[in-house]
């Protein structure tokens, strides 16, 4: 029986094998014939007759140096395009393109303009293509692009620590107090964690879509974000479930990781604000995010209340949850291209969703009443307390 199956599955002779591969040929031949016919008879031209090419130009980065502005632009749209002229503040201006010539679809080039920009003032740059279409880049407040000095790196790291690591640490310091909360208190805290994570999930996803919208069309922003979120969710679930369902310290680490990816996004926002010279806004964001992130520390502490982990675990948790804020500020201050930021935030959203799932399952497992604990008054009040707290503290930093 077994032997017969084997024979049927894999014929021993190489000739038979070749014959099998031969059967792959007809579908490919048919496909090639159809594609060939479509092109040979110019069917596509009939479809697009009279429709002008749709042009699109995305400005991914801008760099301001003394007496010079440079922009990294990416050609989108349906066909290759050419930048014919460049306006700065409604005046045509000399520019240098590198590489020169027509931009193929998806290709990038640096446009460099010798221009006496004014510190702290707004400048508008318009790229005029050979068909006369215009694409605009606005510099809200001109400041020299930060240079990578050691001092700058130090202060960015410090700000990152204040925004990310410090508040999470403060949150974790509630640990001793939280240990005495009892079963109901524990349920409340876990539900609170889910509530605040639910808020962060929506917020992170929204920011990811926002950035994806600013990226070139060919990156297909929404699909990019959702794919990244799905990948983040599935990969973390797979890793987390290798040794059974996570709980205790393992669960705390997953919460920390999800929150960390979210804090990366907060770091980006702060870095970008400082880089564009909006120092007041940057400071405001630092304070706002810092206060808001204390809750995250409490959420991380919730699943380890019973396990009494060593001190280094707390240090590691604080670094995982808060550290990415530092990274975010570094990258944000250098104006990372929007599609990559969207990608990271998408992964972050997936990670947060995964944590929501694990914390909820943990809550169910550790409860006597099973799944119905999720809709118990204590859980719901915890969930909504988390949501409301995040909503209110986030409102403080929204503009």
């Amino acid at each position: 029986m077994n032997g017969t199956e084997n024979v049927a599955k894999a014929p021993p002779s190489s000739q038979g094998n070749g014959g099998r591969w031969l059967w792959l040929l007809p579908p490919f031949l048919l496909l090639a014939a159809i594609v060939g016919w479509l092109f040979a008879t110019d069917q596509f031209a009939n479809l697009s007759r009279g429709a002008p090419p749709i042009e699109n130009l995305t400005i991914e980065r801008s760099v301001l140096e003394d007496g010079r502005m440079s922009f990294l632009v990416r050609a989108g749209g349906s066909e290759a395009m050419a930048i014919a002229q460049v306006q700065v503040d409604a005046a045509y201006w000399q520019f240098v393109q590198d590489p020169m010539g027509t931009l193929e679809r998806g290709q990038t080039a640096w446009i460099s303009i010798p221009y006496p920009w004014v510190l702290g003032e707004s400048h508008t740059v318009k790229f005029v293509t050979n068909t006369g279409a215009t694409f605009e880049a606005v510099i809200a407040a001109a400041v020299p692009t930060p240079t990578a000095t050691a001092g700058q790196l130090r202060s960015q790291t410090l700000i990152g620590a204040v925004v990310g690591i410090l508040p999470v640490t403060v949150g974790l310091m509630f640990y001793p107090a939280l240990r005495n909360v009892g079963r109901q208190g524990m349920t409340f805290l876990l539900a609170l964690t889910v509530g605040l994570l639910a808020f962060l999930f929506v917020d992170t996803l929204e920011a990811a879509f926002e950035l994806a919208g600013a990226a070139a069309a060919l990156f297909q922003g929404p699909v990019l974000v959702l794919s990244a979120a799905a990948a983040g969710f599935l990969c973390l679930t797979a890793i987390g479930r290798r040794s059974g369902t996570p709980q205790g310290a393992a669960l705390a680490f997953y919460i920390a990781l999800g929150i960390g990816l979210h804090n990366f996004g907060e770091g980006l926002a702060i870095g970008a604000a400082f880089a564009t010279g909006l120092a007041g806004l940057g400071t405001f964001l630092v304070v706002g995010f810092a206060v808001h992130n204390i809750t995250e520390g409490i959420g991380i502490a919730a699943p380890i209340l019973k396990v009494r982990p060593p001190l280094r675990t707390f240090v590691a948790l604080a670094l995982i949850a808060g550290g990415p804020a530092v990274l975010g500020i570094w990258i944000g201050s250098m104006a990372f291209s929007p599609q990559w930021a969207a990608l990271f935030l998408g992964i972050g959203a997936g990670a947060i969703l995964q944590v929501i799932l694990e914390v909820s399952l943990y809550l169910v497992r550790s409860s006597l009443s099973g799944a119905s604990v999720l809709i118990s008054p204590v859980s719901l009040s915890g969930f909504f307390s988390g949501m409301i707290f995040m909503y209110v503290t986030a409102a403080a930093v929204k503009i």
Binding site: A84, Q85, Q94, P114, V128, T131, V138, I139, I331
Partner: protein, 378 residues
């Protein structure tokens, strides 16, 4: 939380590349794969070009501090040269009628044509005789004019002349509006003398004007009819020895809205942005200058002309032989307003003298040029 701050922020690439390597090699590889295929060296791609832009600037461009369009327009492809547009008057074909009257016949054909209005920028124009502005029709006061108008364009068009004529000849719907493939002959007497214009009067008017359907229509005074200012009239009349002593030129101030947002991206006199800045108009300091100036700029309520280091006399609409404004260096014109400017550089040292719209925005978007004053134009 990122919102608008993120859009167009300054960045720093060299430092960025360090961090990016730490953050994610995958994103890095994707960036490499998706863009810049013609640019193998990725490190170079991560750095904006630092070569001096002045390397590609000519002397005149440097005079503008880099504030100018880049490159040259292919005049041969366009089929017209802005330098030639200044002086190529179209006198038509002249014959004497049995009653002794002069009949002047012009032929004008409409053609849809893509023209290059600034280096590398192409505009789908509607043209009279393949050029924008259309031919500068020039006649003498009192002549019988016959304009044979053929429409080879894709829309209905007409020629509406500023001047005096019968209602049947007005070039509005029902009076000389010509369907594609059609023909119409406008006929009327040349009056009053002056600096006039013609344009298409099909609707929507804005679209037809903005597409390039306009041109100069100059009627020179008949000296015999103006004994009190005969000398002045003779100097205006093309072909007389007195007229030959003048350096005459035609400038039609226009603009182009290339992205259809109701605002012009390019401004010029005679269509090509910055053309007379890149190739200054040579004038002799020994002869007076006369400019027939016409404003057809669409979307902006007024345009203007300002001359550097000099003053001129202005004849509003050109319908008088004495100036309507004396010793001014700036005039403004509403759309379809026009006039004659007269000035000279005889007391000036040779050199470049700028002229431009004194709405700085219009000047910086292309409507700026220079006179290159020399001892003698050869």
């Amino acid at each position: 939380m990122l919102r608008s701050w993120f859009r167009f922020d300054p960045g720093r690439r060299r430092f960025f590349s360090l961090v990016a390597a730490a953050v994610g090699g995958a994103a890095w590889a994707a960036g490499n794969a998706s863009g810049q295929t013609s640019h193998g060296d990725h490190a170079q791609q991560e750095t904006p070009p630092t070569n001096a832009a002045s390397a590609i600037m000519g002397d005149h461009q440097i005079a503008h501090g880099g504030m100018i369009t880049v490159g040259e327009v292919d005049n041969a492809r366009n089929g017209f040269d802005p330098d030639a547009l200044l002086t190529d008057w179209d006198g038509g074909i002249v014959e004497i009628l049995p009653d002794g009257m002069t009949l002047r016949t012009f032929e004008v054909e409409v053609e849809d044509k893509e023209i290059e209005i600034a280096p590398g920028v192409f505009f789908p124009a509607w043209t009279y005789n393949g050029r924008v502005p259309g031919p500068s029709l020039r006649a003498k006061e009192g002549e019988r004019l016959r304009i044979i108008f053929r429409n080879f364009g894709s829309h209905q068009h007409s020629m509406h002349f500023h001047g005096i004529h019968a209602a049947r000849m007005d070039g509005v719907p029902g009076a000389g509006m010509v369907e594609p493939g059609g023909e119409f002959v406008y006929e009327f007497d040349a009056k009053p003398f002056g600096c006039h214009l013609y344009h298409c009067h099909a609707f929507p008017l804005t679209r037809h004007m903005h597409k390039g359907m306009y041109g100069a229509f100059i009627i020179d005074p008949d000296p015999a009819l103006h004994p009190e200012h005969e000398e002045v009239a003779r100097s205006r009349l093309l072909g007389t020895p007195e007229n030959a002593k003048w350096q005459e030129m035609m400038m039609v101030m226009n603009g182009f809205d290339t992205n259809f947002d109701g605002e012009n991206e390019f401004y010029a006199a005679n269509t090509i942005a910055h053309c007379y800045a890149k190739k200054p108009i040579r004038v002799s300091r020994n002869m007076p200058v006369r400019i027939y100036l016409i404003n057809v700029t669409e979307f902006d309520p007024i345009n203007s002309f300002h001359l550097h280091a000099n003053f001129f006399d202005y004849f509003d609409q050109g319908t008088t032989l004495t100036p309507t404004l004396k010793t001014v260096d700036l005039i403004m014109q509403c759309q379809a307003q026009r006039g004659i400017l007269e000035f000279h550089f005889r007391d000036h040292e040779p050199g470049l003298y700028m002229f431009h719209a004194h709405q700085s925005e219009l000047a910086e978007l292309g409507w700026m040029g220079m006179f290159d004053v020399v001892e003698d134009v050869t």
